[in-house]
Amino acid sequence: MLRQALGKIAQTLVVLFFVSVASFGLLKLAPGDPIQIMLGSEYSQESYEQLTAQLGLDQPFLAQYADWALRFVQGDWGTSYVARTDIYTYAFKEALPVTLTLASFSLAFAILIGVPLGVISAVKKDTAFDAGSAVLALTGTAFPSFLLGILLIWFFAVKLQLFPVMGYISPWQDFWGGIYHMILPGLTLSTYFIAMITRLTRATLIEVMEQPYIAAARARGEPSWRVIWVHGVRNIAMPLVTILGLQLGTLLQGTVLTETVFNLPGIGQMLTSAVLGREYMVVQAGVMMTATLFIGVNLLVDLSYPFLDPRLRARK
């Protein structure tokens, strides 16, 4: 098992290496010569070469990459000219927490609503409830989240004036204020996941309920709720965690859109303004953070299987 885990970690590191080379290449592919931009319109060949050497741009690609990677790991991500800050502070300390707060809030929402909906649909298979939640699930997975967000703003914030239209308060500073500002964005982002988790829970639980250990639990005379919620639901944990890990990318790209709808200062807004301002180093930071998060979470998912399913432990 340890051997397998080490193999997984090695694979992950290679993927991370590829991603980092690609996002370093992003800077190289970006239009415009950085030296020319720095020097302005008038410069001598001598000063051009001097600055090139000073910035290490005359080095081979891999040497430049190694230099960049070393600085990146140390938190030296360059300076953003539009936001007028150090990119590490801007991206990692300011934007990322907003995105993570929104993402974890939506995920909690999705699990708390999606799993019970799926369980009830599975237990009441082929009833009106099941059909209704199937239609909702289909609509939920196909409905564009940014439209849903605008509709929610229109209905709950403008018409009913129940929630703030937009803005962000960190739940770490003002817990209830933060939650209050997160409800509409969280609902917007989690709709897709509620739908997906409902579908998945229903499909998996129907299969689980046909297993012999469920029949055995029933034969022992355990109450129906215990059979379903303890013996049944426990066994959907693994597929659920797998799918959630793989869908983390969808969650992150959903936050990009939701942040724009609700004016939350997260990675989404950072990336959009960076693209408009042609700040490739900020785009690079965003790409690296997203990819590292995705790769890291999926490594954790892979490593968590033996803890979720005792059968995987026993076999070794």
């Binding site: 992003l26 239009p31 940014f146 229109w154 790209q253 990009v256």
Partner: protein
């Protein structure tokens, strides 16, 4: 998939099923049929946009700004006095063109990488797999944002950026299909007959990979449309005054408190198309995907 003659393996499949199978498919799947009709209506509206649209989609009329739905403007007008119905109809053009072409780019790229990964072995295969993994480590929208950062904005740039961002999932499915095909008996037989390797790939592997890929293409058109309109919604995709749905939704966002139709109308047009396409995609996958068909 284990048909005796691989040359004839894939093309006859749909044809052989067609006379009885196809008609019954529409009757068996009423939702699929309705969704297909809806999607066809979008294609027709997009094709004949100049004849269907009551107004010029980019003609500004400052006497008719932000009017609610009325008889003259059934879906209302936007903040420049442009007719929203006409813009929605022309928007279908952009959505479908961007969706279809970017999926084709993604499928072509995925086919090349997937074939290479599936056919090669040893360290090269391992490296290609990690390459696919690293493309898949970035969600398609964020990948598309990165490509847009390099390429710039515009319809053609959006097509390329969305297309490139979709290579990962296509490559993965192509590789999985290649892995299944290359251990088949007819491949071994062809190799024993000392047919040149590239010919075996061309005549025997490729046809068995293309059909599932075509199914994937139809399924993923809706994803491409969603990503491209998301880019426009973020304000970094198609540039104004192009009648693009994502752009229209974004423009209406600032006026949501007193002119909600500005975002809602193009939004519902997009949502309806996406729902219809996903039902059509599910139907096609369940009917034609060999993996699901075998299970059924």
């Amino acid at each position: 998939m284990s048909l005796p003659s691989s040359d004839a393996a894939i093309p006859p499949l749909p044809r052989a099923k067609a006379p009885r199978g196809r008609r019954s498919m529409f009757l068996r799947r009423p939702f699929f049929t309705v969704a297909l009709i809806v999607a066809a209506a979008y294609v027709l509206a997009a094709t004949f946009a100049p004849h269907v649209a009551p107004f010029d989609p980019v003609k500004q009329d400052f006497m008719a700004m932000m009017q609610g739905p009325s008889l003259v403007h059934p879906l209302g007008t936007d903040s420049y006095g442009q007719d929203i119905l006409s813009r929605v109809i022309y928007g279908a053009r952009y959505a479908l063109i961007i969706g279809i072409f970017s999926v084709l780019i993604g499928a072509a790229g995925g086919l090349v990488i997937g074939l290479a990964a599936g056919l090669s072995g040893g360290w090269l295969e391992w490296a290609l797999m990690r390459l696919i993994d690293s493309i898949l480590a970035l969600p398609s929208l964020i990948l598309a944002v990165a490509f847009i950062a390099i390429l710039g904005q515009g319809v053609d740039k959006v097509v390329v950026a969305v297309g490139l961002s979709m290579i990962g999932p296509f490559a993965r499915t192509v590789r999985a299909d290649v892995m299944q095909v290359r251990v088949q008996l007819f491949i071994e037989a062809a190799q024993l007959m000392s047919i040149p390797y590239l010919r075996v790939v061309w005549r025997h592997v490729l046809p068995n990979v293309i059909f599932p890929l075509a199914v994937q293409v139809t399924i993923r058109v809706s994803e491409a449309i969603l990503v491209s309109s998301s880019l426009s919604f973020l304000g970094i995709g198609v540039t104004p005054p192009t009648p693009d749905w994502g752009l229209m939704i974004a423009e209406g966002r600032d006026f949501v408190s007193f002119a909600p139709w500005m975002s809602a109308m193009p939004g519902f047009a997009l949502a309806l198309l996406l729902i219809a396409l996903s039902i059509v995609g599910d139907g096609i996958r369940e009917e034609f995907d060999p993996k699901l068909r075998r299970g059924a």
